[in-house]
């Protein structure tokens, strides 16, 4: 397929849209990281095999379908990772959850051949027990709003044809007909802000780049995604790679860049492979290269693989890394929009930011800005993780409260435990408590509360989490990821860690909190790059919001949550214990004794405070004293 003109693009789009209409069944097997880990690849292969065995003509390539041939596609993350592997069957949009290879023959014979929906594989509403057939019935999906993730989990990730059938590259055609400055105006009017952490207005960034002097301009996509537990960008790169390419092309057109780079961490081999395949298909079709769609626009894209250091996501370190030097940040007193990659004006945006661009151009700035709050427009993707019923990938309109995200979409805290804290903004974000649940998802509101939007991690914690321990964990992570170049970050985070570790071990003193605050502020104000500047956030926000818990460790020498081993003693409440023996079986060091149906007892001398018994006990008989 060669697409040299806009007419040819339209023709192909019509052809593929018609082809999609003719596909009898589309079996979309989620191939996001979560579902792959749960065995989605085998499920996909099983569908291919079983459909062939049942005499259903099927192909794994969208382009080869139609005319009686069904599609078995691998898609990007479908969102509800917790209930994976997910399989969506079209038409009907039936969502099957926890699909095993052994379920596949039944799906083929019942659903594909007889049109019967298998209730046992449907998602069940946890409150009503009702089975939910489609996305529209599942509470997890109904409160979401998909913009950047519009196609993720819907399109066959490896198919240019399917992307075109779904209206792909329409925004590019729009953009090619616009004056480059008008594209920037549109992006600026939309209020789109960078989704990589800083929330810098994208339009304004593009404009400063255009106004800077240089021999050449570059456009760079930040797919480093170093936050532990976050995978929005990974999902997008794997699930809708053409959309990122389209976004970058529009950006390239707007700022006058002929070359673009996508920086992806090497731990994302699938993302690299899908992006590369997408780039190759675009090059083959003539959508990347010279004189694209006869518009005179030349654009090339290259993937650069990063070594997987968290700090390489920082803009100056990332550019050093692309240039072939060690990824170390440098002071940005001269902005990278003026002197960036190879010392030329450069625009760096996050994956999700680029994925939002086609929507801005296609639907217009006003439509995009109709969602959101005063200064945070559109949507934001999050990875819901931790102690919440529905973990997975979500995209919510800006302005939704944390409560709605955690309890509405996330379905609340499992096992009837109490919500305690939510950590937003990744490892250098902040810990917010119950009092902050009505905060809205908004760059400025989250920052004002001492946390941040960050790139979109959202870790929910219940009352079995200790905020001292959580602070220690994040400090340890950041300490290890600090590039070590500047003193406050390298030495300061270490000293912060030492103080917090001392508190967690029961060696804290009353002065420690003040010392943490003083040192934390000094680190934040004098570090070279964003890692150091935001590094103290988790511990500072934890102290601000959970001061009593820190004091309990220091003054009472107790860890109320029962996490810090040195400060915890577990005891079985004889009135609550039913003698079910569960804890006895789970204890790894055999510290629990007791007979069936009689209260059990923990030998504190043997107990290692791992907390396994407490998680197992249904009667809440294991108390922290």
């Amino acid at each position: 397929m060669r697409i040299s003109t806009i007419e040819q693009l339209d023709e192909q789009r019509r052809r593929f849209a018609a082809l999609e209409q003719e596909i009898p069944w589309q079996v979309k097997v989620c191939s996001g990281s979560g579902c792959i880990a749960a065995g989605a690849a085998a499920v996909h292969d099983a569908f291919v095999k079983e459909m062939a065995a049942a005499g259903i003509s099927a192909s794994t390539s969208f382009e080869q379908c139609g005319g009686g041939t069904s599609l078995v596609a691998k898609t990007g993350c479908q969102g509800l990772c917790q209930a994976g592997p997910l399989v969506t069957v079209q038409p009907g949009g039936i969502v099957y959850t926890r699909v095993r290879t052994k379920d596949v023959p039944l799906i083929v014979t019942e659903t594909l051949q007889k049109g019967v929906v298998l209730e046992s594989l449907l998602y069940r509403n946890p409150n009503t027990g009702e089975p939910c057939r489609t996305r529209e019935d599942i509470p997890f999906y109904v409160h979401q709003k998909f913009v950047a993730l519009e196609g993720c989990g819907i399109v066959a990730a490896d198919s240019l044809g399917h992307y075109l059938a779904r209206g792909g590259f329409r925004a590019l055609v729009h953009a090619l007909a616009m004056d480059p400055i008008a594209i920037i105006d549109e992006v600026e009017k939309s209020g789109l802000r960078g989704k990589g952490g800083g929330g810098f207005p994208t339009g304004r960034k593009w404009r400063t780049c255009v106004n800077a002097d240089g021999d050449e301009r570059f456009i760079v996509c930040n797919g480093d995604e170093g936050d532990p537990g976050a995978f929005m960008d990974c999902a997008l790169m794997e699930g809708d790679p053409f959309r990122i390419i389209e976004g970058m092309m529009i950006g390239g057109r707007a700022i006058g860049a002929k070359r673009g780079f996508i920086y992806v961490r090497h731990e994302y081999p699938r993302a690299v492979q899908r992006l590369q395949s997408a780039i190759d298909q675009c090059v083959d079709a003539g959508l990347l290269g010279t004189d694209i769609l006869c518009s005179g626009f030349d654009f090339q894209l290259r993937i650069v693989r990063g070594g997987g250091a968290f700090v390489c996501g920082e803009s100056s370190a990332l550019m050093r890394s692309i240039e072939g030097f060690p990824g170390e940040p440098r002071s940005k007193y001269i902005r990278s929009t003026e002197k960036g990659l190879f010392n030329q004006p450069t625009v760096l945006n996050n994956v999700e930011t680029f994925a939002s661009i086609p929507a801005v151009i296609r639907d217009g700035a006003y439509a995009f800005a109709s969602v959101g709050t005063g200064r945070s427009k559109g949507t934001k993707a999050f990875c819901l993780a931790g102690r919440v019923n529905h973990t997975g990938l979500v995209e919510v309109p800006m302005g939704m409260t944390l409560r709605e995200v955690i309890f509405g979409i996330g379905g609340g805290v499992p096992n009837g435990r109490r919500f305690k804290a939510v950590q937003t903004g990744g490892p250098s974000g902040g810990c917010l408590g119950e009092a902050h649940l009505d905060l809205r998802v908004d760059f400025d509101e989250l920052s004002a509360a001492g946390s941040m939007m960050g790139s979109g991690g959202m870790i929910v914690m219940d009352d079995y989490s200790c905020m001292v321990d959580v602070s220690r964990y994040f400090l340890k992570f950041l300490m290890g990821e600090s590039c070590g170049k500047c003193v406050p970050c390298r030495e300061g985070l270490f000293q912060l860690f030492e103080i917090v570790d001392g508190i967690a071990r029961g060696n804290g003193t009353r002065k420690d909190l003040e010392r943490i605050e003083k040192l934390g502020h000094a680190i934040a104000l004098s570090s070279l790059c964003g890692l150091g500047k935001s590094g103290p956030n988790p511990v500072l926000s934890a102290i601000a919001n959970f001061r009593e818990e820190f004091e309990a460790h220091i003054v009472g020498r107790k860890c109320p949550a029962g996490v810090c081993r040195e400060l915890t003693t577990f005891q079985i409440d004889p009135h609550r214990c039913t003698g079910c023996m569960k804890c006895r079986r789970v204890c790894p060091v055999n510290a629990i004794s007791g007979e069936k149906k009689k209260p059990h007892h923990i030998d504190t001398a043997l107990c290692t405070r791992c907390g396994a018994c407490r998680l197992e006990c249904d009667d809440e008989a294991i108390a922290v004293v």
């Binding site: 250091a309 170049k485 500047c486 003193v487 000293q495 003083k518 040192l519 104000l525 004098s526 070279l528």
Partner: protein, 249 residues
């Protein structure tokens, strides 16, 4: 162009940093990792100052050694906050290298008695100011470089092995503000970075002049006469004096 430093009008040149402009005007700003002939890295953060501009919305805290001047810039080098940040960073450095005379002296100047932090048990006294690697790079040898990250970051030879390109000049050891680069000189040899170099001996008096590798490197790269390092500088001077005396006499 004109800038203001601590209320004083100061003349600055186009490519100046705040630090160079301040020094020229006789205003002292502490610095550790900065040297005029080397590229700036902004590692020690002791030169923090506050900058502001009538066109800006508010002041910024920046490193003076890196911040480029612009017309109308207002610099404050001694605000409460600036002093606090400098002291905090010096405190962290002092925990790392309490024996350093240079740091002790700076501490005395800034009114810091002793570090309030524990001494890290990981790593050496090296404060990673990168002066050594930058002089080595400037000389063209690139024998040492930073390796690792975070607390594991250290200055090392390539892969911790034999420093092939080292010429034993000792510039790194001489420039180190905390004296943590080990260099042992004997009458015949110099040992540094795990490598031992032979000295060239003065043809007149026999004192060590320079390592053989350094001599060869310098002669090759600076187009010096081949016998340039045959005598030590003292003997050269003495011979020259004798020559002058003869001519004059």
């Amino acid at each position: 162009m004109k800038i203001t430093i601590d209320g004083k009008k100061v003349e600055a040149k186009r490519w100046d940093t705040v630090l160079t402009a301040a020094r020229r005007a006789g205003i002292a700003i502490p610095s550790l990792c900065q040297l005029d002939s080397l590229e700036n890295v902004g590692a020690c953060r002791l030169c923090m100052v506050e900058v502001n501009h009538p066109h800006w919305r508010g002041a910024k805290l920046v490193t003076a050694c890196e911040y480029p001047v612009e017309s109308g810039l207002e610099v404050i080098t001694t605000s409460e906050e600036v002093l606090r940040l400098r002291r905090a960073n010096l405190d962290l450095l002092l925990a790392r290298a309490p024996e350093s005379r240079r740091l002790q002296q700076m501490s005395a100047e800034m009114g810091l008695e002793q570090s309030g932090y524990v001494r890290p048990d990981k790593g050496t006294a090296c404060i990673l100011c990168m002066l050594c690697t930058r002089v080595c790079e400037k000389l063209g040898c690139n024998a040492i470089a930073p390796a690792g990250r975070g607390l594991d970051k250290r200055i090392d030879t390539p892969f911790g092995g034999y420093p092939d390109t080292c010429i034993g000049c000792g510039a790194c050891a001489a420039i180190c503000p905390v004296d943590c680069i080990e260099m042992t000189d004997t009458a015949k040899t110099r040992t540094i970075w795990g490598r031992t170099f032979e000295f060239v001996k003065c043809a007149e008096c026999g004192t060590p002049v320079i390592t053989v590798e350094y001599r060869d490197y310098a002669i090759a790269h600076r187009s010096l006469p081949a016998d340039y390092y045959n005598e030590c500088s003292d003997c050269k001077r003495r011979k020259l004096a004798v020559k002058f005396a003869k001519v004059g006499g």
